[in-house]
């Protein structure tokens, strides 16, 4: 065992000396490789963090949202629906919600107006999302006027701005009292935009949704898990789009790394011949080159992943942000929670280190099995 360890130490010593002797080639290779890992790891970390964020945020959202459909379009929920839904066994809590979109020509942006019970917000007051407040220069105590769709001007006092922690969801949000909401949008009394409900037994969500579908055939129950799945598909799709766009560049880096790794120079072939002639076995040479490949690929992998981590969680993934977050006039400012998926990292490790090792070892193996007498004829 001691002999084996000593031998590995010799091989690593020689490998390090070899890497240092071919500095330019190895640094170029390391940089190209690191960049490749950085791009892939940034994408993976960012989309994973967004998925986790979505799941985290949706965890506190209602289990089922019931909408009413007319001619395949979302329509207002009539007053008796609340009472009829309340009769379904298993429904624990339900609440009619009032929300709508408002286009603000000042920012060319859409806001989400949402009513809160009058106990939370007094008539004439609003609470606004952080991005909106930032863009319109609002702070507590300011007033702001909106012209409603019927042409009337409404003036509100900003009672508070919403916590920056919720900015992912509340960037464009305007919270106002139920009375103000109904007046502003001229909403018919007793009607709601949709109904949020929770069920007593989470295992029964699908059954209750099915019962609602039967009882109110014009309703559309939307489950929380469906929303989550939609988000996941959306981020998967965006990740795919980015990967497609970057495919050319990734391929170019991969080819560069492959070419650099697999191209054995005349000098390297000569060295392999010398080592064999002076008593190194084919397996020693392959082991030595394996150490070399591992040192480069693991360093590039760790460097790339670390750089991607800093890029995503400290600089908000500046490179991919516009594509991955989607389009918006009011971009939320939010810090992603640093979450890393071990399986994703292992997959990345496998797809970057493994092909590299193959690229290194195949030509080495071919050179290492050559007869050592070639060195006598050099």
């Amino acid at each position: 065992m001691r002999l084996w360890l000593e031998k590995q130490r010799h091989l690593i010593d020689f490998t390090l000396a070899s890497l240092a002797r071919r500095k330019t080639k190895n640094i170029g290779l390391l940089l190209a490789y690191m960049l490749l890992v950085f791009v892939l790891a940034s994408l993976m970390l960012f989309t994973h963090a967004l998925r986790s964020e979505a799941a985290y945020v949706l965890a506190s959202s209602p289990e089922v949202i019931v909408q009413r459909m007319v001619a395949g379009r979302h329509d207002l929920v009539p007053p008796d629906y609340l009472e009829r839904i309340g009769r379904v066994r298993g429904v624990q809590k339900m609440q009619g919600r009032l929300w709508g979109y408002y286009y603000d020509p000042v920012l060319n942006a859409n806001y989400t107006f949402m009513a809160r019970p009058s106990g939370e917000i007094a008539d004439g007051g609003i609470m606004v999302g952080n991005a909106l407040a930032r863009e319109r220069g609002l702070s507590t105590g300011n007033t702001i006027s909106f012209r409603s769709y019927s042409g009337k001007l409404f003036t509100f006092e900003v009672l508070a701005t919403l916590s920056p922690d919720s900015e992912l969801l509340s960037a464009d949000l305007v919270l106002l009292s139920e009375n103000d909401f109904r007046r502003f949008f001229e909403y018919p009394a007793g009607h709601f935009t949709d109904i949020a409900m929770s069920v007593a037994n989470p295992q029964e969500v699908r059954n209750i949704a099915a019962k609602l579908g039967k009882m109110l055939p014009d309703s559309r129950p939307i489950l929380r898990e469906e929303i989550l799945r939609t988000y996941e598909s959306l981020f998967d799709w965006r990740e795919g789009i980015v990967l497609t766009v970057l495919a050319g560049a990734i391929l170019a880096f991969a080819i560069l790394a492959w070419e650099k790794a697999s191209g054995l120079s005349a000098e390297e072939k000569r060295e392999i011949g010398i080592l064999k002639a002076i008593g190194w076995e084919t397996s020693d040479i392959i082991r030595m080159k394996s150490w070399e490949g591992l040192l480069i690929s693991i360093t590039a992998f760790l460097g790339g992943v670390l750089a991607a981590y800093v890029h995503v969680f400290h600089f908000g993934a500046a490179v991919f942000e516009p594509v991955l977050k989607g389009w918006s006039v009011l971009y939320p400012k939010f810090k992603l929670l640093p979450t890393v998926d071990g399986l994703q990292l292992i997959t990345l490790l496998f797809f970057t280190v493994f092909p590299y090792m193959a690229a290194v070892l195949v030509p080495i193996w071919r050179a290492a099995i050559a007869d050592p007498d070639t060195v006598m004829r050099a």
Binding site: A277, P372, D373
Partner: protein, 224 residues
Amino acid sequence: MIELADIRKAFNQGHTNEYWALHGISLKLDAGRVTAFRGPSGSGKTTLLTIIGCLAKPTSGRIRFKGEEISGLPERFLTDIRRQSFGFVFQQFNLIKGLSALDNIILPGFPSGRPRAELLANAASLLDRLKLSHRSRARVEWLSGGEQQRVAIARALINDPEVIIADEPTANLDTALSLEFMGILEDLTALGKTVLLTSHDPLVVESQAVHRVIAMRDGRLTET
């Protein structure tokens, strides 16, 4: 010590460019002696040395080393024998550029797993014997031809082999350095080493340090 029986060697066998480098060489080489193989280029000297030194296998024929037949052994065993029993000094020295003299010398000791400190101590003592201690840390490409050859000799001796094989050792040296090399040969014989070398340099083949000269031409022995 080394017995060759009807050694033949073909290159590119079975192809249109098939070439027979050796035609049935039979020979006995004694231990502790310096034997020089003389002959023009293409006479088969180097090919014969590569076969004796386990760098290549003969196409046919048998080789016995210290009484054991080694011609049929698999490559792994041949590598072991080569590492333990043979030291090589190549015509172009074949040192690894970018490494120091000391680092080059200890390379053949790596596969044996001997501790680095022990290898370095051995290498330092060899450099001392070859009067090259002052250049031990210098990178080999900065050394003169004679210094490079002494590094190559030290490297050949690091595993304390019984046989030293030197291919055209004076081909890249001037007269003074060639004479210096012959002096080193005498020291090696005094240490009990067997030396096999190829040369067509009269300075070598006519030297007192060489005990036996074997002439070759066209892959055959012409004078033993």
